[in-house]
Symmetry: C2
Subunit: 152 residues, 2 copies
C-alpha cells in the first residue's frame, strides 16, 4: 500500500496539490481583478473560501514536494485522518462557492449589460470554472487518502 498513487507523499499527490494551488489562485485572481465583487455575497464567499483553500493546498504541496524530492516522511494515521477531513470539508465549501458564483453570474448575465459588462461576466464565469476544477481535485485527494487510511 506504500506506493498507492495519489496518497500523501507520492508524486501523483504532488500533481493534485499543484493543480489545486494553481486553480484556486487563478479563481481568486479572476475574481479580484476589480473590486466590484465586493457588492455580491456569493462572490465574497468565493474569495473567503479561496483564502482558506490556497494556504491549505500550498502547505500540503510543500509536504508532498519534501516527501518526493528529499526524504519520505512517516505517515501517521492521525495526520492522514486530519488531511482527509480537511480535504472533505474544503471540497464541500468549494463546491458551494463554485455553484453559487456560477448561478449568480448566470443571473447577472441574463439581467443585461447594466449589471455586468461583457468582460466582467466572462471573468466571473472563468472564476467559477476554476473553482469547480479545484473542487474535483480536492475531492480526489480526499478519496485517495481515505483509501490509504485502513492500511495504516
Amino acid at each position: 500500500m506504500d506506493n498507492l498513487p495519489g496518497a500523501l507523499g507520492t508524486s501523483a499527490s504532488l500533481a493534485l496539490r499543484l493543480g489545486q494551488t494553481v486553480f484556486s489562485s487563478a479563481s481568486l485572481l479572476f475574481m479580484c481583478l476589480d473590486v466590484d465583487f465586493y457588492s455580491y455575497t456569493s462572490f465574497c464567499y468565493l474569495v473567503t473560501v479561496m483564502g482558506l483553500a490556497i494556504p491549505w493546498s500550498l502547505t500540503l504541496l510543500v509536504v508532498d514536494a519534501h516527501s518526493v524530492f528529499i526524504r519520505c516522511l512517516p505517515r501517521q494515521p492521525r495526520i492522514i485522518l486530519v488531511i482527509v477531513l480537511g480535504d472533505l470539508v474544503l471540497s464541500f465549501l468549494l463546491l458551494a462557492a463554485a455553484s453559487s458564483t456560477a448561478s449568480v453570474t448566470d443571473l447577472l448575465h441574463d439581467a443585461g449589460r447594466s449589471y455586468c459588462a461583457a468582460n466582467l461576466c466572462s471573468r466571473y464565469q472563468l472564476s467559477a470554472a476554476m473553482a469547480f476544477l479545484c473542487w474535483s481535485l480536492s475531492f480526489a485527494s480526499s478519496l485517495f487518502n481515505l483509501w490509504l487510511l485502513p492500511s495504516l
Copy 2:
C-alpha cells in the same frame, strides 16, 4: 457489523430516508407553489435535482421499511456500492442546487421588491434550507453505507 446503525436495512437508515423524502418533497413544494421559478436557471436546477432525489429516497425508504418490519433482505456488496455512489452523487447535486438557490434568492432579496415579493423570497429561502437539510442526510447515509462496505 450486521447491526451498524444507519446502514441499509436498519431503523436508523429508515429514519434518514424518511427525513430525506420529507425534506426533498417540502423543498419542491415550497419552490413550485407558483410558476415563477421557471424564469431562473438555478431554481429550475433545484426542481430537476429534487425530481431525482424524491424517487431515489422513496425507493430506499420502501426497501428499509421492508427490511425493518417484514423480513431482513440480504446485503450484497455490489448493491451497497451502487447505493453509496448514488447517495454521494445525489448529495453533491443537492449541495450545488441548495447553494445556488440560496445565493440567487439572496441576490433577488437585495435587488428589491420589484423582483421578489416578500412572501415569495421567504418561500425560496425555505426551499434552499430544506435542500441543505436533505443534503446533510443524504451524505450521512452515504457515509454509513461506505463504513459497512469493507465488512461485506
